[in-house]
């Protein structure tokens, strides 16, 4: 039995230890405590619109199937036959009446029930003893989360302020609904998975890592380059490990976040006004969608949805897809191109983030690699709800991530 890992030593108020990214034992501990025992994001209901539609996802080393059942409910189950353990479904998406194992032909229903065993003469166990493992599942506005074990934290408590972040994303649609039908780009990182959520809500690196982009293009990002006090965006720790860069205070006009104007996307503005009323719609179109991570593996990436997938202590995959808005199909083309511009292996931004993360992974693999985490401790503020806010370049977000991580890893939340 390995010695218990002291996360209070490794994660302090103002610094963390680099072994958190590189230690094999910590990685195994994370899979067990974060990915197999706590709530994780699986997928969105718009990916499985019809009965029998399914997608497969990898959570840690475990493949799961998210499937729309005959009664319209969504089930998430382990993608492993209960007979001799074969992978039940090798496709990443599709539609099925039921799942037939390719090895010996056992048939499971969309709800995971074992329906039929071939040549039943030699098998006399009750079928219901060998149903698929079904995960505890809950969803909020189509975002499906699941837990392999009986969760110690209720879904509502887990999501906390994350609900309001998801609301803000969905409400960008005049119908209040998003549609993830654009396909997933998957980008391989030779870096620990935690560098992804950390970097995605790090407002400090933009001028450096993305300098080439700022220099090459005239875009909203250009507005964030400048003296420290000219940066108006803010960073937030919403609690429960959920974090955000709120760009809105830095926007100069409506639809800055879309790189557009009300004249250019008039039909979208009109539908938003019709749904929400002029005052509210104008505010939403000014503020834009959230740029926020929902602990541990979901990123509401403005007009994209992103999933973080750990694939080993030294590697991870970032999934990304454009967040199409129901009721505004006229934006689809623009959202596709915006998604490709920002996210994925060929993008103007993420390609460089990946290189930086990979260099960090290498640099942190030896010696006594303490990483500073103190930026903004001298100026962040906390409201009565415990939500912390600071200058956009501060590490308030990463402290939020790590301190929640520490509590989960130490079993201090329940």
């Amino acid at each position: 039995m390995p010695a218990k890992i002291d996360y209070h030593h490794l994660i302090q108020e103002d610094k963390i230890h680099g072994s958190l990214y590189t230690d094999e034992a910590i990685y195994e501990d994370e899979l067990e405590k974060l990915f197999y025992s706590s709530w994780v994001y699986i997928g969105h209901e718009s990916e499985i619109k019809k009965r029998g539609d399914y997608v497969t996802r990898d959570i840690g080393r475990s493949s799961v199937i998210m499937v729309r059942n005959k009664d319209e409910s969504v089930k998430v189950m382990v993608n492993r036959c209960q007979h001799r353990g074969n992978m039940l479904c090798n496709e990443s998406q599709g539609n099925k009446r039921n799942f037939t194992c390719p090895y010996h032909g056992w048939v499971f229903g969309l709800n995971g029930d074992l329906l039929d065993v071939s040549y039943p003469g030699g098998f006399d166990k009750p079928l219901e003893e060998l149903n698929l493992e079904v995960l505890v599942t809950d969803s909020y506005r189509g975002f499906v989360f699941a837990c392999f074990k009986k969760p110690t934290i209720s879904f509502d408590d887990y999501l906390g302020h994350g609900k309001a972040l998801i609301d803000r994303a969905c409400n960008m649609s005049p119908n209040g609904k998003i549609d993830l039908k654009g396909g997933w780009i998957r980008q391989h990182f030779d870096a620990n998975w935690k560098m992804l959520p950390e970097n995605d809500t790090d407002g400090y690196h933009v001028n450096y890592v993305h300098q080439s982009f700022v220099m090459a293009i005239d875009s909203q990002y250009g507005d964030f380059v400048g003296a420290e006090d000219s940066i108006k965006g803010v960073i937030k720790n919403w609690g429960n490990g959920h974090t955000e860069i709120d760009f809105a205070p830095g926007y100069k006009k409506m639809l800055d976040w879309l790189g557009s104007t009300p004249e250019k996307v008039k039909s979208y503005v009109d539908s938003m006004t019709k749904t929400y009323g002029k005052e509210k719609a104008d505010q939403m179109l000014y503020d834009g969608p959230p740029h926020a991570c929902i602990f541990p593996n979901l990123f509401l990436a403005e007009m994209n949805i992103v999933i973080f997938q750990p694939t080993g202590v030294n590697s991870a995959v970032q999934w990304s897809t454009p967040m199409f808005l129901e009721g505004a199909p006229e934006l689809d083309f623009k959202l596709l191109r915006q998604s490709e511009g920002a996210l994925g292996p060929a993008a103007f931004l993420l390609a460089d983030d990946a290189t930086i993360a990979e260099r960090a992974q290498k640099a942190l693999s030896a010696g006594t690699p303490w990483c500073d985490l103190s930026r903004g401790l001298n100026r962040e503020t906390e409201d009565s709800d415990g939500v912390k806010t600071s200058h956009m370049t501060d590490e308030t977000s990463n402290r939020g991530f790590w301190h929640h991580y520490r509590a989960l890893m130490m079993g201090e939340l329940s």
Partner: protein, 164 residues
Amino acid sequence: MSQIMSAELTKRLEDFVIKEAKLADEGEYQAWEDLWADDGVYWVPLKEGDDPTQQVSHLYDNRTRLATRIRQLKTGYRYSQMPISGMRRVISNYEFFAEADGRYRVEANFFLPEYSIQSIHDFRLWSGRYIYTLSPRDDGFQIHIKKVLLVNGSEPIPSLAFLI
């Protein structure tokens, strides 16, 4: 069916593709960009059959975005290609087609060994099919479409910041 094309013409088309590949391999960004027509589209879909108006691609650059991509590479701060990867692509199995509008379509398989030296120093192998739409310009050709069908485009792939 392809119309009969002279060996002289197919040789010139092949030479053009080889030149384009060499400029990409060697990071001759400006010379590479100059090969493009004003309506150029540089496209790497996730997989065969994807519709770029409905599905996300690894990249789908119109001429303006292509110019931005080249400007970014030329800044000297594009970390994911700083320094540029070692690359020597091999192109083979050519097929040549004359299109009705006076354009030519050239299809060929490629195999691209990349030595990625920006972070982990990794030797990577890329492979797939190039599909070019070209038309005559001056005494050579210009590129209207370069579509790159990767054999593993819908799987997780590492940085694709170089010109593929």
